[in-house]
Subunit: 185 residues, 2 copies
Amino acid sequence: MSLRHAVLAALLSGEYSGYELAKAFDVGVANFWYARPQQLYLELSKLEKDGLISGREVVQRTRPTKRLFMVTDAGLAELADFAAAASKPSFIRDDLLVKVQAVDHVDAAPVIAQLEQRAAAATAKVEILDKILRRYRGDLDEETYLRHGSPIGPYLTCLRGRRFEQEHHDWCVRAAELLRDRSLV
Amino acid sequence: MSLRHAVLAALLSGEYSGYELAKAFDVGVANFWYARPQQLYLELSKLEKDGLISGREVVQRTRPTKRLFMVTDAGLAELADFAAAASKPSFIRDDLLVKVQAVDHVDAAPVIAQLEQRAAAATAKVEILDKILRRYRGDLDEETYLRHGSPIGPYLTCLRGRRFEQEHHDWCVRAAELLRDRSLV
DNA sequence: CTACACATGTAAACGGTTACATGATTAT
DNA sequence: ATAATCATGTAACCGTTTACATGTGTAG
């Protein structure tokens, strides 16, 4: 039951609609969780029903009406409890790794192609994350921001996401290269 | 539906029982997937029913009787199809990241404690993975093994796991340090 | 005789994905 | 008109987790 807390944590940064959250969770900035839009709308309904967030309608001239949500005091208390409770260990679950694991026994060509696609996608995400990090830092250099800047939480998760994508990219490139060389023998 | 393929890929390395797979998937070596024992037993039943693996009973004097499984030709064909199909993008889903995301708004102390626990766990896992990598390599240096050694698939996934754990460790240590320093202000 | 590691499962509940569905507004 | 983007949902299905359950053999 952690999407619940991921949404709460995301809403600490400001008021967002389901649609805005969906973009952040689904596309680029999912540096600390990932979810489909449908799931977010569902979760937002539940959170509102439980009084952990409150929504307000915003009528727009130029766009359809949307509902913005903010964390309530009850929501903040729930998050505090969650933060103090034990975490599950993190683990990788990745289709592509399963394919690489099997690559000695199946045709390597499609696996190589997918590694190269992934590498490209990872590069794109690194760039997005770099932009976000720069926006947080403003004029400060990273060291200074880490010591005194604010907010620190989102900056740290963003850093983690950035490194994950960078690592993923490097590994994909290396693996593709090696498998390609071996295929030529 | 990827545990299915993860199990198939794992069984390419030899015959394993549910219990043996459980240890590999659950504890240290889950470098390409993760699953609970119960789920593995269930999945093995399904795979056998579908003819993708075949099991044989092994009566042991010193231990309870177990069932060892191996991939059938149909299973290998299934894996080949899977490897050629498109992969879903990989993403992080981690409780602890959610907590760090919220750390500006909740008590940092328990989050710091959890970061330190995670760092220690990651170090332990790095050591396990290093051992496995050395066992694969034997006398060869890494570069040579990557170019000519066999199997290459499991070695590459193991390398990915190792780097993931190392990164995770480094990030946890750094984040804990920073949050600790900030708490003292 | 007790604790531990080996060995294998079932059932209920939960969380996440996929498919389906709708409608407003703006730009082309 | 039509496509694209903004905006929000429901329902069925599937995969995962949690809790429950059982039994063998070894070592202390």
